[in-house]
Amino acid sequence: MNQKLKTLIFLLPLLAFIGLAGFLYSGLFSDPSKLESVLVGREVPPFELPDLYNPDQTHDQSILGGEPMLLNVWATWCPTCYAEHTFLNTLREEGVYIIGLNYKDDSRAAAVNWLQELDDPYQINLFDQTGMLALDLGVYGAPETYVIDADGIILHRHVGDMNQRVWQQTVAPIFYRARLQAGLSVPDAYRHLARDSEQGGGDE
């Protein structure tokens, strides 16, 4: 065989590795919280799920909307959910309306137990044992948080834990702008969102 050609063939593994490394490098800096959801800008798919506390009561998509809210996907098997729980409690104290979606949990009792121990930041908690709604939403893993506006439209999706930084930098502006648009009150710190949107510029 021609020596040049042979060297070229032996270079193939290296080239394949370089290509792979390129993807790994960009993967390193792509923020998983920016995972696009095909559902952003659309309504949450229809569902009918039992309440976490009360198996006989079911909820459907009509609970979403009316006012801007967060839909938080969580589970007791998820250590990060434990980490973000305290912050969700803080948000509730600030008056943020949060709906919980308990995702493929070990058991109802475990989830209820967890909420009793850690406090319950959720207004309503859905029990999605089979992960059907989560599948429709394209949930990547727990925790995930969706911002939903007063019309039940998904505005934003955040993958990973909700914390002070994520909330202040990304989620709160979206959430409070939606509240302003729905004619609801917002904390003083977010009043400027109303002015910004009047001027036609966003701060996203």
């Binding site: 993807f23 390193l28 009792a109």
Partner: protein, 659 residues
């Protein structure tokens, strides 16, 4: 103070690894024997100081020194002493220190047992081990120092170790896996040293074979242990999840298995040399890649530890240097290698090539399946996830030709085999396998499933073909007993390895096709029957453990009015982490496991239970252990211990023995 000693030792070990990289190679370049000979003492120094550093960290955990950040985050005073030690490698920083301890340990073992290698070669091999060390020491010192302090704000008590990791299986699982991962660095170092020297000959393959098999044994046992742990600890009743972390350990195993077989060809026949070198590079590269995937947070997985882009960047850079550099060296040097041996289409060489191709395809499938979601997302095609159905399907199709070749390969001679000579044995073995593969489920199971017959047929084919092969080897000899011994440990190692694979295959087939899983509701005093077993829920007890409290259900199992066993299944609530864990009750048997997990309370005093009937599930892990045993037997072969003998004599002793 102790922590500072640990930290400082780590710095000294790093300095040793730098010297180990430079001095012996300088010696080789200048043909300076003294500098080359420095490789050994430098290796011992690297190992010694890493050991001191590791002991210092263990001490920090044992005495609960919460001024060390790592200890404060992963251990607390309530933790039992043995789990304080496990916590050393339960964290990101600690697990890298363990990794380095093992890496330095392999290097030291290599230095100790390589006295018979030519000095130039030994110097190069140890220098490559040093290079790998440099990367990891800098990684630890710069981005994940296990000795970071919490001073001045020392916490009163620490967090808890993740309850999932508080289990005897977890004490030895990571060290075993690391022994395997890092062990491939030895084969890698041999390959790079051979490339540097420009000599890829049979002796290189023979030297690196026992080391490769040793690493493979550890990895095999490690993976089996991890699977067993997931089975009884995670409480889901599954034994393999195709989770990225599991895939990360499975890829080097597949490549390592291919490498073992390819080394046999290189040693015996002098063929496949550049291919073998590529596999040696691949096996270790995949170990590194696995570490990167798990540690950098590129993939989100149930196991994933805290992630940090700085660490990821460093690891990727290191990966780029090690893998990219070695592949470049490979392209430059291996392309000059000329293979001269001849073989025909139906020969042992081609069988092993087929085995290699299938294993490499399997590796690629796992790699792509693990990375595709990432690539997909980076190309802007949206997020997708690839899971069990994909892998199960592909592996089903890969297993069929693979298992056929595992059986046939050993029957076939090197260079050339006449079909007529083995036709009778092959057809007989295959006919028996087909017959029994169909008959066993037809007699013992309530239904015959096509996949079950296929799996059993393949496994039995391997068994019968192995028997046929041994019979054929004995046919030429008179005294059966002494010739059984004369086949040699290496040969028996191969037979055991293949039989182990068959056993695992039987386990997988039976579990996949015949397991039963039921969710039932029971109040104390009620019973449920499945497969002739009656599960009687006797009572529920409240238990206080050292760092948890729990509800414990007592289940009495009977069969045909006879007692089988009383099982306990618990829901534990861990106080510090506020995490709930299920402890499953297991009744272990040779032919089946009974598995029961306590679910939630359903009101009115009844509880949900998950009851599994798992036929042959033990065989999955038993098979892995048999494979590992085969590996051990193979290493014990005398020809790896023959010292200072010329290649000519070696060639003669290995004649007649097989792979």
């Amino acid at each position: 103070m102790i922590a500072e000693i640990g930290h400082f030792s780590l710095v000294i070990a790093c300095a040793f690894s730098l010297l180990l990289t430079v001095v012996p190679l300088l010696g080789v370049a200048r043909r300076h024997g003294g500098q080359m000979a420095m490789a050994r003492p430098l290796t011992y120094g690297m190992f010694f100081f890493t050991l001191i550093s590791f002991i210092a960290l263990c001490w920090g955990f044992l005495v609960s020194d919460f001024s060390i950040l790592n200890v404060a985050q992963n251990s607390n005073t309530q933790l039992p002493a043995i789990y304080k030690l496990t916590a050393v490698w339960g964290s990101h920083e600690g697990s890298f220190l363990l990794w380095m301890l093992i890496q330095a340990g392999w290097a030291a073992a290599l230095a100790l047992f390589s006295k018979r290698l030519p000095l130039v070669f030994a110097a190069r091999v140890l220098a490559v081990m040093g290079m790998i060390g440099v990367g990891f020491y800098f990684f630890m010192l710069l981005t994940s120092n296990p000795f970071d302090r919490t001073i001045p704000l020392i916490p009163v008590d620490g967090h808890d170790l993740n309850p999932l990791l508080q289990d005897p299986g977890m004490i030895i699982h990571p060290p075993l896996l690391y022994m395997g991962y890092v062990g491939f660095s030895v084969a890698f170092a041999f390959a790079i040293a051979a490339l540097l020297g420009g000599r890829l000959d049979a002796s290189w393959a023979r030297w690196s074979r026992p080391w490769t098999i040793a690493a493979w044994i550890f990895l095999t046992v490690g993976i089996a242990l991890g699977s067993w742990w997931a089975y009884y600890e995670l409480g889901w009743g599954g034994w393999w999840f195709w989770d990225p972390v599991e895939n990360a350990s499975f890829m080097p195993w597949l490549a390592g298995t291919a490498l073992m077989h390819s080394l046999a060809v290189s040693e015996k026949r002098g063929s496949f040399k550049s291919w073998t070198v590529l596999l040696a590079i691949a096996a270790f590269s995949l170990s590194l890649l696995g570490t990167f995937l798990v540690r950098s947070g590129v993939l989100v997985s149930v196991h994933a530890f805290a992630t940090d882009p700085a660490r990821g960047t460093f690891l990727l850079g290191f990966l780029g240097v090690v893998i990219g550099g070695s592949l470049l060296l490979y392209a430059l040097r291996a392309s000059k290698v000329v293979s001269y041996s001849r073989y025909e289409l139906f020969s042992r060489e081609v069988m092993l090539l087929g085995n290699n191709v299938l294993l490499v395809v399997a590796t690629m499938v796992v790699l792509l399946g693990t990375l595709l979601p990432l690539v997909h997302q980076e190309l802007g095609l949206g997020s997708i996830s690839i899971g069990e159905p994909f892998f199960d399907q592909v592996f089903l199709w890969l297993t069929i030709p693979f298992a056929l070749m595992v059986g046939l390969g050993p029957l076939v001679r090197w260079r050339r085999q006449k079909w007529a000579d083995i036709q009778k044995s092959v057809l007989l073995a295959f006919a028996l396998a087909v017959l029994l593969g169909w008959a066993l489920p037809a007699i013992f199971a309530e239904r015959v499933s096509g996949l079950a017959v296929l799996g059993l047929l393949l496994a039995l084919w391997i068994v019968f073909a192995s028997v046929a092969e041994i019979k054929m080897r004995l046919a030429q000899r008179d005294n059966i007993l002494s010739s059984l011994v004369k086949l040699g440990p290496s040969h028996w190692g191969m037979v055991l390895g293949h039989l182990g694979f068959a056993v695992t295959l039987i386990g997988i087939t039976m579990v996949q096709n015949y397991e039963v899983e039921r969710d039932v509701r029971l109040s104390p005093g009620q019973s449920y029957s499945e497969h002739g077993y009656t599960f009687h829920f006797e009572e529920l007890r409240a238990i206080e453990g050292p760092n948890y409290h729990s509800d414990k259900a007592v289940i009495h199992i009977t069969r045909n009015e006879r007692d089988v066993e009383t099982l306990f299944t618990e829901k534990r609530f861990y106080n510090v982490r506020r995490q709930v864990m299920t402890q499953t009750g297991l009744q272990v048997g040779f032919f089946r496991d009974l598995y029961i997990a306590l679910g939630d309370e359903l009101g009115d005093g009844s509880y949900a239970f998950r009851i599994h009937y798992k036929p042959f599930v033990r065989w999955i892990w038993a098979g892995a252990l048999i494979m590992a045993l085969g590996g051990a037997l193979s290493i014990s072969d005398k020809r790896y211990r023959l010292k200072r003998q010329s290649a000519r004599v070696m060639g003669q002793t290995s004649k007649g023995t097989s792979v």
